[in-house]
């Protein structure tokens, strides 16, 4: 990451009438970083990103994007960034290649349509009307349009929402390519696996405030270290006989007495002791799973909500 941040936001606020959508948030994004804004619908992610894209004026605070003020230098900023919107459309009868050529003409510099079409696997569809494209092809075209001016900074607002898992994986691959090209990407999502897989850093946003920020790993480690150990035993155990294993925070035994779940702050140590105890009792292990806390767990702990609420 370079010293000079690509995006710097300080005390950013946005209100719609009496509704405060963004309540004074601060963050910075460095060059080449993939930065995720993670939160449920209505958390303030889209308002934040649209202020930074120059689409909406802020109500308060400061924002600088590529050295431009998004409120006062909209056109110069828009010439330098790429944007993939959450909900957008193109004329039904525009052909794929025509769309790229048309939008390319709006910028001071643009990449060739052929190059982008091949890269986004749309070359075969170049003469197809927009209305005939599948959801995945439309989203790939949206990404191609976001890249048409060869931007160093991209805003991707929920780029995989509503797409099937296969298409989502394809889009993830494309975002990883952008990351490999050292482009800075700001990504909003409510898919945990997307943030964990793609983002260098994540800000968890809820009710217009950033409630936590860091690398996905850092955030997971903040989750009260509640790893989950799941064991399936060869024969039923008695709940009364279960000991207090080291670092175990909570123990649950399934109805059949064979499924044992233990939450632990140091799962490796707890697991070793559990295996020893079961072995001494002549119980065989049928299955063992160790689950680290996910960003979803972090989010639930911090906000008391689920991400897709």
């Amino acid at each position: 990451m370079d010293n000079e941040p690509v995006i710097a936001v300080r005390s950013l606020q946005k209100s719609y009438g009496k509704v405060e959508a963004v309540k004074g948030i601060d963050f910075q994004v460095g060059s080449g970083e993939v930065f995720g804004l993670l939160g449920p619908n209505g958390a303030g992610k889209t308002s934040t990103i649209e202020i930074l894209e120059g689409l909406r004026p802020r109500t308060g605070g400061d924002a600088s994007v590529l050295g431009f003020d998004p409120d006062r230098q909209k056109e110069r900023l828009k010439d330098r960034i790429g944007v993939c919107l959450q909900a957008t459309n193109l004329p039904a009868k525009i052909r794929v290649q025509e769309a790229l050529e048309l939008f390319g003409s709006f910028y001071s510099r643009s990449l060739g349509a052929e190059q982008l079409l091949k890269r986004l696997q749309l070359w075969e569809k170049r003469a197809a009307y927009y209305e005939t494209l599948s959801g995945g092809q439309k989203q790939r075209l949206a990404l191609a349009l976001a890249l048409v001016n060869d931007p160093q900074l991209l805003f991707l607002d929920e780029p995989t929402t509503g797409l099937d898992p296969q298409i989502r994986l394809e889009i993830h691959g494309l975002i990883e390519e952008m990351k490999a090209e050292k482009r800075t990407v700001v990504l909003t999502t409510h898919y945990i696996e997307e943030a964990e897989r793609l983002c260098d850093r994540v800000a968890i946003i809820d009710e217009g405030k950033i409630v936590a920020m860091g690398t996905p790993r850092e955030l997971q480690q903040r989750s009260q270290n509640r790893s989950r150990i799941e064991i399936l035993c060869s024969k039923p155990l008695s709940a009364d006989a279960l000991p207090q294993w080291p670092d175990a925070l909570e123990t649950q035994l399934g109805e059949d007495g064979r499924a044992l779940t233990v939450y632990s702050s140091h799962p490796a140590r707890t697991l070793v002791e559990m295996v020893k105890w079961l072995d001494q009792g002549g119980v065989e292990l049928v299955d063992v799973h160790l689950k680290r806390p996910t960003l979803e767990d972090v989010f639930v702990e911090l906000t008391g909500k689920k991400l897709r609420d």
């Binding site: 828009k78 193109l90 048309l102 003409s105």
Partner: protein, 274 residues
Amino acid sequence: MKTYLAVITMDIKLALRLRAVIFFNYLFPLIFFFTFATVLKGDSGAMTFVVTMSVTLGVLGSGFFGAGIRAIQERELGILRRYKVTPITPTPLLVGSMVTGWIIFIPYIVLLLLMAHYIYAMPLPQHFFELLAFISLGLIAFRALGLVIASVANTMQEGTILVQLFYFPMLLLSGATFPSEKFPRVMQILHNFIPATYLVQGMKNMMLRGQGMAEKENLLAVVVMLLTILGGGLISMKLFRWEKEEKIRGSAKLWVLAVLAPFFVMGIWNWWRS
């Protein structure tokens, strides 16, 4: 300039790919033309009326539906939102809409006049190119009016109501579909306040009386239409909205009246004279 060219080229391609555009710009007025022309064949005065009616139908359709309703549709469908994230401003989109309408419409006018002349023996206007220029001004003025309606309508439903409120009175009271000389007194008064009246009257003057655009009464119509283009263009730019979520205040709808002000003044003037 490359943005303007790209927008206009794309607008033309898109318009020609839409069946509705072809129907309302060409087929619908041509059906009227052939139906009436077949009945009134041989009467050159009546043929002028038929041509004027067909042109007015096309101009109003192009202005209100081709420019106005289409602009609302593009906003409602989220198409303008995609433009909003680029450095483009509303100006190329609005200019593109006006120029595209003109490029698509002018061949139809030429075709209509030539058919009226060669098939139905209507004399060609003495100032053929001035007539084309006059109709062009009318077309662009009504497209500007259509774009202002699109700017002040918050929803497609609102836009449709506004368009119908303008379209039918203009069609019925301008003298394009019924001879205005036979209107009762009240309709005669209203006739003076209808913007399309000046387009219809100017075309009749140029086709029946051999007048050019420089004649006093036509010149006034030219000035009024130029003012509409200018006013409509500026107001459309001022009130332009990229997204359907951006609503406009009810009071801003009064801007439509500002665009109609030149016609109102003309109406008062003609009423006072009569």
